[in-house]
């Protein structure tokens, strides 16, 4: 039996569910399990739902809870930059069988290199599909600030993702025979 509170909550939550899960997938990468982040955020948001006076502020309310959980976990783990630039491997996109899952991970890793505001703005806009107005509401920032974050974020992401780097590790992975020939 659903309570009135549940019905009201779901009415606001359901339309943003997909966007929210995508946001959590990207935001939680390397910090917390996505499902844990989604569950914890929802339970937190639901238990304090009465305190949310303006239902219009639901988006901002929900996403800030998620961000706080990630930040708290980050603080606990004391993770600041846990990925090395050399981790990224640019693959040839002309290949027919592209491993999209690993590509998504490459993106998530790259996103972790951005400042928090830029990262959030990029995820919300490019992955979750929110409008700039909605993001300005979620991030409690002006529209021009959001635009700036998106612009700078994209620039930095391009720099990270499109700069071909072949690390020694990748050579080791790709041609162990060659390495054996030269070094052993």
């Amino acid at each position: 039996m659903k309570t009135e509170k549940q019905i009201e909550f779901m009415k606001l939550y359901e339309p943003v569910h997909n966007s929210f899960v995508r946001f959590c997938s990207a935001k939680s990468y390397g910090v917390i399990e996505t499902e844990d982040l989604v569950n914890e955020t929802i339970l937190n948001a639901f238990s304090n739902f009465e305190k949310l006076k303006e239902k219009k502020a639901f988006l901002s309310y929900l996403f800030s809870i998620a961000c706080n959980i990630v930040n708290n976990n980050l603080r606990k783990k004391n993770i600041v930059n846990y990925t090395s630039e050399d981790d990224y491997q640019i693959e040839d996109k002309t290949q027919k069988n592209i491993d999209t899952k690993s590509d998504i991970e490459v993106l998530y890793k790259a996103l972790n290199k951005l400042p928090n505001d830029q990262k959030e703005a990029i995820i919300l806009f490019e992955i979750s599909g929110f409008s700039i107005e909605e993001i300005s509401e979620i991030q409690n920032a002006s529209i021009s600030a959001v635009k700036q974050r998106l612009k700078r974020g994209r620039e930095k992401l391009s720099e990270i993702l499109c700069r071909p780097k072949i690390s020694s590790e990748s050579i080791m992975k790709k041609s162990p025979i060659l390495m054996n020939m030269f070094f052993l």
């Binding site: 009135e4 939550y13 990207a26 499902e35 339970l43 993106l107 490019e126």
Partner: protein, 390 residues
Amino acid sequence: MKNENNHIDYYFLIARQAPITIPIEKVSILLNQSTLGLNTTSTKTISNLKLYIMTTLAVVTTAAVIISINLLNKENNNQRNTPPVKNENIIIMDSVIIKKSDPDSVVVISKDKKMKTEELFNLVDELNSLVTNSSDLDNYIDNFQNTNAIDTSKISNDSTIENKTKYSLQYDKIEEFGIYKENWAMVKQDGRYGFIDTTAHEIVPVVYDKIYNFGEYIDKWAMVKVDGLYGFINDLGKEVVPLVYDKIYNFNENNINWAMVKIGRLCGFIDNNGKEIVVPQFDLIEEFGMMHENWALVKQYGLYGFIDNRGKIVVPVIYDKIESFGIYKENWAMVKVDGLCGFIDFSGKEVVPPYYSKIEYFHMIKENWARVKRDGQYGFIDINGKEVEQ
């Protein structure tokens, strides 16, 4: 730059098209569990918990093996040195308890009077005819378990159950299992009721004067009564609403999914989590939605106010009278204190303080104005409630 943009757009595209791993139904279930107060443990916590449980199990199993070996040794020693311990077998069935206290006879105790005396005697005869030596009843029990003739969880030939079963034998009455709740039987002792499960464990202590049916008032809960006071237990036997109320009305009455409760003559509300949303303090609470969509009129010490559908007092209980909204002006209601009139609006704000001995309808003498009387003098207030200066 364009190529680079195309490149990152490719990443965004695949991230946008990634399948949603958490279906919306899961969220609904999560909220249901949360509302019911169930544990909503995260996957990570579960994996930690699994590890913990597995470690505990390993420790417990090792300890059990050691204890068993010790007991076995002890038993062997006892058999050698002392007379054999009397083996007492007990079977708990739906309507009867079969107890073997002597190697050659069994006692059948009817749990209630529903089993006919004739049937009972037949069962005693049948069992006694089977018992010719001490191992017969054990074989009989094994046979029951192997053929699944009855629920094996309700049978025990384990002597460790002895203490628990002795407990169950002290009840004045044991109802059949499953009448009130699956695998539970209501027991009566000294005029009080409780519940035991199929292992004779007392799930609900035998302290209640009355236990109503589960689900009668609210899903999975049963109302209970002790010394004229009412509360609720849940389907785990836990008291979810303390027994402090003189009366608990049905849930979902009064246009809200709460239940009205009374302590003495004072009314309040509990929600479907058992939480006291409105402390019993009002002489009267009218139905929600009667005068205002989300509010209910309340009366305390002869004065009126409003509570909202969160249980908060939104209009203080200070008015001698609150008239309906919309009579004088849309979304305004006239309030009276000590014979003086004013208005509150739909948010509960006092838009015209109760200063006037009389307020006439708006637009009667002049459009958007209403004539008011204070201290024997007449004047006007405008449509926003402001006194018109003349």
